[in-house]
Amino acid sequence: MQSNHIIETRGIVKTFGGLRALDGVDIKVQRGSLTLLIGPNGSGKTTLINVIGGVYKPDAGQVIYEGEDITGLPPHEIYHKGIVRTFQIPRLFKNLIVTENLATAKRGNPGENVYLAPLKSRWIDFETKTIRESMITELKLKILHMWNRKSSELSGGQMKLVEIGRSLMAGARLVLMDEPAAGVNPTLAHQIFAMLKEMTRGLGITFLIVEHRLEIAAEYADYVIAMARGKVISEGKPNEVMTDPVVVKSYLEG
């Protein structure tokens, strides 16, 4: 019944004033794949993530997730559909400690009902598991030693890791990441991509990742989509796309 594609965009157009940031974008992402979204600066990658994530309503076009039209839904409903996203410039909860940042992303915490929150027995078990899971995720991302630091005190690279951690805590089927490895050291970046790759296989999670650092990311990618000036200009296997003259040219121009 279902297609192999977990998400699909059809003819997405998004303009800012006179600028067409997205100019008829059609992409399809294979379920359980690690798909890279590449393109020079200003080509519209972040805008596409924002449209899928519900931050912007597109001027035209549709976003189809698991066969359902989710165009224009607000961000929290998109999350509840099973999609989570990270931000290119980290947006952490700055007065919350690292572990709290991760725990906040957990889906379905019964303790988040403001009226019933004082009834601790309703949520204590779930919460204990959540905190434990948060710390295990921190360990994988090598930030467990900072578990109780206020997140505003972290370095840029560490903030990126917390962003990634939050998206992994969300228990989403589709994870959109906007340049997760920017500012992260190459060894750790490799480990993280290996971990994501592992999750596609083990848990069937799909990753759509905006990433400039192809020298790191390419070897883990199943598929690559290249954008330029608001359009998809090339897509396919990593080495096909990376050697595609159109893509090379766009990067030289961009």
Partner: protein, 396 residues
């Protein structure tokens, strides 16, 4: 001139103010401190509780008494030399409206007090009922206000709330007699005649109990996943929404709970005072001072709130004590110095220590340290690495 201090009265009055302000400031802190909703119209919600007691409570109690105890109340009226001429048996049916009217309120109040002295159990019942009503209507008012509030951000919301509060309290409450008697206000029945002569002490104790309960309640929220979520929403709405938090719902729920809390305080304050006049619920007393207390004590920290409340209330009592000494010396009312001092305190505090005396702490939902140790035990083999992580150092 020696100052005479009645320590008992002073302590009692201090306890009353600290308890009342603790409830209001805790509720402000849930909104402003934890969730980032700048409620500059807090006095509206405190006033709401008091207005319910005077407006609905007076009518309701007079109505119930006139229906259930018609003969008794008629007898009390006929025994009263003044009222016996003005009120006849035929008027008993409109006792309820008379009691909420400044013209009839004062005289009838004598009668009502006598009546409740004879029927303390009915007084207690009505007290509980009216308290529940005040809390419910406070919450409903919060729900009502939340509709525009959800669509507004920051300064616009602050302006709207302040404007609504000023209008309801200073214009409608002050001039529209049917609400709470206009400029003269209304006396309330002595619902708690059960305390006899010690009624003020009794209500003070009830207020203290309520403040303790509200503190424990606020602490439970603060240290729950919901408290964490509120702080997350405050810090970054878009990030919180992208992680599935329904910002509008969170803000609405918090406004409703906080408004109900403030109304509870307002109702108890009214019953403690024994009367309601809208001017008691001004911006200075019930919006500005709670904000000052929160900023001094600790933003998003309930214990900080209690500290802030205590500091500012003790300061105020101190001013009350030195006032009579200062009054002959300066050519103005020394109370203005207190106002100016508070204004300065808030600005200096923002400048020197904006997080307050006791800063925000993580929401302690569970024992983090214990889970941390567990995870280290289970997932990290290398003893050296364990040690480094414990000490907050990155492992290679």
């Amino acid at each position: 001139m020696p100052i005479e201090l009645d320590i008992g009265t002073l302590a009692q009055s201090l306890a009353y103010f600290i308890a009342a302000y603790t409830i209001v400031t805790l509720s402000l802190n849930l909104e402003a401190g934890f969730t980032g909703i700048p409620n500059f119209g807090k006095h509206l919600f405190v006033a709401a509780g008091a207005f319910v007691v005077a407006s609905i409570g007076n009518r309701l109690s007079a109505y119930i008494v006139s229906v259930l105890y018609k003969d008794e109340i008629l007898k009390l009226i006929q025994e009263d030399p003044l009222l016996s001429k003005r009120i006849t048996e035929a008027d008993i049916g409109s006792l309820w409206s008379m009691y909420a009217d400044p013209l009839g309120n004062r005289d009838l109040d004598r009668i009502m007090d006598k009546f409740f002295a004879q029927h303390p159990e009915l007084g207690i019942l009505l007290f509980i009922l009216i308290l529940i009503l005040a809390v419910a209507i406070g919450g409903l008012l919060g729900l009502l206000i939340s509709y525009p509030a959800l669509r507004l951000r920051g300064e616009y919301l602050a302006i709207l709330l302040l404007a609504a509060a000023e209008m309801v309290v200073m214009a409608i409450g002050y001039y529209w007699k049917p609400l709470v008697g206009g400029t003269t206000g209304l006396f309330l029945p002595r619902y708690l005649a059960v305390f006899g002569q010690k009624v003020i002490l009794g209500v003070t104790v009830l207020l203290i109990l309520a403040a303790v309960a509200m503190y424990l309640y606020a602490q439970r929220i603060a240290n729950s996943p919901a408290g964490r979520m509120m702080r997350a929403v405050r810090d970054d709405e878009l990030a919180a929404a992208s992680l599935g938090k329904d910002i509008a719902k969170v803000r609405r729920d918090v406004i409703i709970i906080s408004s109900a809390m403030a109304a509870l305080a307002g109702a108890l304050i009214a019953i403690h005072t024994g009367s309601v006049v809208s001017t008691h619920y001004q911006r200075f007393s019930w919006t500005f001072i709670p904000w000052a207390m929160m900023i001094v004590g600790g933003v998003a920290n309930n214990s900080g709130v209690v500290v802030g409340v205590a500091i500012i209330m003790i300061l105020q009592k101190f001013v009350d004590i030195v006032k009579p000494m200062l009054a002959p010396v300066v050519p103005f009312d020394p109370v203005w110095l207190y106002q100016i001092g508070l204004g300065l305190v808030i600005i200096l505090m923002l400048y020197m220590r904006p997080q307050g005396i006791i800063p925000e702490k993580p929401s302690r939902t569970v024992n983090f340290e214990e889970i941390f140790e567990d995870v280290l035990e289970d997932k990290v083999e290398d003893e050296q690495a364990k040690k480094m992580i414990r000490e907050g150092r990155a492992t290679p």
